[in-house]
Structures are given as structure tokens and as C-alpha cells.
Symmetry: C2
Subunit: 224 residues, 2 copies
């Protein structure tokens, strides 16, 4: 008797990760560079997106997907008012976005007309870290008033980041915040992580982020 | 044939809620009034507990259980330094405390020697709301710099509150925050919720909270 050939499935992907790969393929087919933005509630994700649109909106078309636990369109309305297409996802109380939710959202955006897609995840420093969405980069908006000990208390989310923003630097004079202690904590979890301290309120520091993002988009297009 | 009597279980409690009831019984046996503190990361839960100890520590003995996603003792060390017993719970990455975790923690505290037990839940505005721990009241520490739109975006957590703190009022001059808009959102979810705006940094407003808490502890003892 000859041996029967047994099919071996080498890499089992979860349903979420399969759908995330489909999201990525759809984005790549349309040449759309995509960013998953995570943060605590109130760190300034929407303000950061609005600043990015303000500085980059004349050069690049930016589509935004807003994730919220409740059926509100507060953030999506702000994006639309800034002249960019936005889609609101209501997670129905869930604490994070999943690839399937994003898949539904992506199809509502005019993809062929968009250069960059920004996903604003649910405000949560824990759960979103565990869900791959298929976007090209993960970005965290940290904020000065939430304190300098966050990397020590919520380490998981920092490990999967490609870039980090430290927002609300204008509040530095009014709170106790040791930037070196914060960055040391992040460095242990994600050595060399590229980081942009800035203030969405005053606009200080935003230019450096915009320059970096433009370079990323250019590199993405050349690499295709 | 006479009808067979079928046992009907009228109220099925989840494993979590059964354990929460056990927690409550243990606390009541020891005459310990207990508070579950929830908040976004960095809203100032630990500072709020430290202020409470500072103002009330000479009259009442306060035991603290600190919940964190990582194996750190940053917050528990601050409590111990302030002269009160503290226990650190590491959730192993989980986004909330559950009654079973609290059960393990309670047993580490010198219950017969304690008047008030404060539980500092994991910093998260979504998941902790769904888990009853067995404590006597649920308290939320909201904070000014996290923004005035939070009740509209994270409604669930406000519904189960007995009392709310609005912390970091000293930052009001430096951020865009409409207190009326915030309170209107909370009022829709939890009409008449007792609320204390205060600043743990300057101490302003803390007295009113302390007076209320002392009245609650007194009422609890009389009601037993």
C-alpha cells in the first residue's frame, strides 16, 4: 500500500484575520494607504484626523471610518464638514472594531477616489490591540493629560504600533507629566518606535507628522 | 396520575453574579462599605483615591484593590505609601475586573479592620460596565481633558452609576469643554445622578465629595 497524501493546512487564519486580509487586498487594488488609529477615550483622535485633513487635504483625498459604541455621528459629521467622505460604524456596545465591521465600512467609501483611508477605532487602550483590521499601519494617539505611566499599565497596545502621536503637548505646563518616563516605557515595548509629540489645539508639531505621512504614502505607491 | 411537580428555577444567576453576591455578603459581614471606581485610562482614579484617603484617612480605614492589565504595582505602592492596605490584581491583559478576581483580592485585605473598600477597576470606559462585582456603589471618574462628548459616545457606563466625579476641573481654562453639554448627556442616561466636579490636583471641590461619602458610610452602618 502506498501512503495516502494528507493535506496539511500550514497556517490557520481566524475568521477575523481572513477578512482583514480581504480588506487589505481591496485597499491595495485601489491604491489606498490606510491607518488604524487607536487611543483612550478623549485623547484627541478626531482632532488629530481633522488636523491631518487640514494640512494634507489639498494634496490627498482622505476617507475616514469612524467607530463608536453608540449610534451617534458626532465625529463623522465633523469629517464631512471638513470636506472628506466619512462612514460611521456603530459597534452596538462592543469595545473595539473587527475586520468584518471595517469590511462593511470600506465598501461605503468611494475607494477609487481616495488616497488615504483613516480608521478611528473605538476609544479603548486595551481591546482594539487584539484585532487586526487589514490596515497598513497602526497608530496610537497618546495624550499628555492621561499621564506618563500608561505604557507600564497597558503594555499590549504599544507592542503592535508602527507610529505614535503624543497629543495635547500644550497642556504640559499644567499637569505632572514626565515625557522621558513615558518614552522610556514605550521604548521597552517597541524599540525605536517613531513618535511625534504635537498639539492638535495649537498646531505645534503637526508639520513633522505630515511630512512623515507624505513620505509613507509616496513609498507605498512606489512599492506597488 | 397526579401531576409531577417540576422544579422551576426562577432567577438564573451567571457565575459572575453568584460570586459577586458572595463578595457582597463577605463585605456586609465585616461592615465594609465598598465602591467600584471606573474611568478611562488617566482620568485620575488613583489621585482621587489618594485625595479621599488624605481627607478621610484619620476617621476611616480604607482598603484598596488595584486592578491593572499588567503585573505592575505602581498604583498599589502609592496607596501603601499613603498608609492604607492595598492589593494589586493583575488581569493578565483582560480589559475589566470580574467578581472572581475581586473575590481573590478581598481575601487579601484585613477586612475586620477596614471601614471602606475601594476597588480601582481597569481604565476602560466600556467593558467594566458589564461586570457586577458585588460592591455597594459604582462610581465613575470622568475628566475634563477627555472631552464633553463622552456620554454620547460611551452611554452604557453612565447608566449603572450611583455617583460621578468630574475630575481635573483646574484644566477648564485650557481646553474646550462645555460642562452643561456633558451633564445634559449624562442626565439623559441617568437622571438625577449625584455629581461632584473637583480637582484632585488643587483639592478644590473635594470637601463636598468627602461629606457625601461620610453620609453614605453612616447610612450604611445604620441600615444594617
Amino acid at each position: 500500500m502506498s501512503a495516502i497524501r494528507v493535506p496539511v493546512v500550514e497556517k490557520i487564519l481566524s475568521a477575523n484575520d481572513r477578512m482583514a486580509d480581504e480588506n487589505r487586498s481591496l485597499l491595495d487594488e485601489n491604491h489606498v494607504f490606510s491607518i488604524n488609529i487607536m487611543a483612550s477615550p478623549g485623547a484627541g483622535k478626531t482632532s488629530f484626523i481633522l488636523q491631518t485633513i487640514k494640512h494634507l487635504g489639498k494634496e490627498l483625498k482622505i476617507g475616514v471610518i469612524e467607530g463608536d459604541t453608540a449610534p451617534v455621528t458626532i465625529d463623522a459629521d465633523k469629517i464631512t464638514k471638513a470636506g472628506m467622505p466619512a462612514v460611521q460604524i456603530n459597534t452596538g456596545g462592543d469595545c473595539h472594531l473587527e475586520a468584518a465591521m471595517l469590511s462593511d465600512g470600506i465598501k461605503q467609501l468611494p475607494l477609487s477616489d481616495i488616497d488615504v483611508m483613516i480608521v478611528e477605532n473605538v476609544g479603548n487602550l486595551i481591546c482594539p490591540a487584539a484585532w487586526y483590521l487589514g490596515t497598513h499601519i497602526n497608530l496610537l494617539v497618546a495624550s499628555v493629560p492621561e499621564g506618563d505611566d500608561k505604557p507600564y499599565k497597558y503594555p499590549n497596545i504599544y507592542r503592535g504600533l508602527n507610529v505614535m502621536i503624543i497629543n495635547k503637548t500644550d497642556l504640559m505646563p499644567y499637569v505632572e507629566y514626565n515625557m522621558d518616563y513615558f518614552r522610556k516605557g514605550v521604548e521597552m515595548l517597541n524599540p525605536g518606535l517613531i513618535t511625534f509629540p504635537l498639539s492638535c489645539r495649537t498646531g505645534e508639531g503637526v508639520d513633522a507628522w505630515i511630512t512623515w505621512l507624505k513620505a509613507q504614502v509616496k513609498q507605498y505607491r512606489q512599492g506597488k
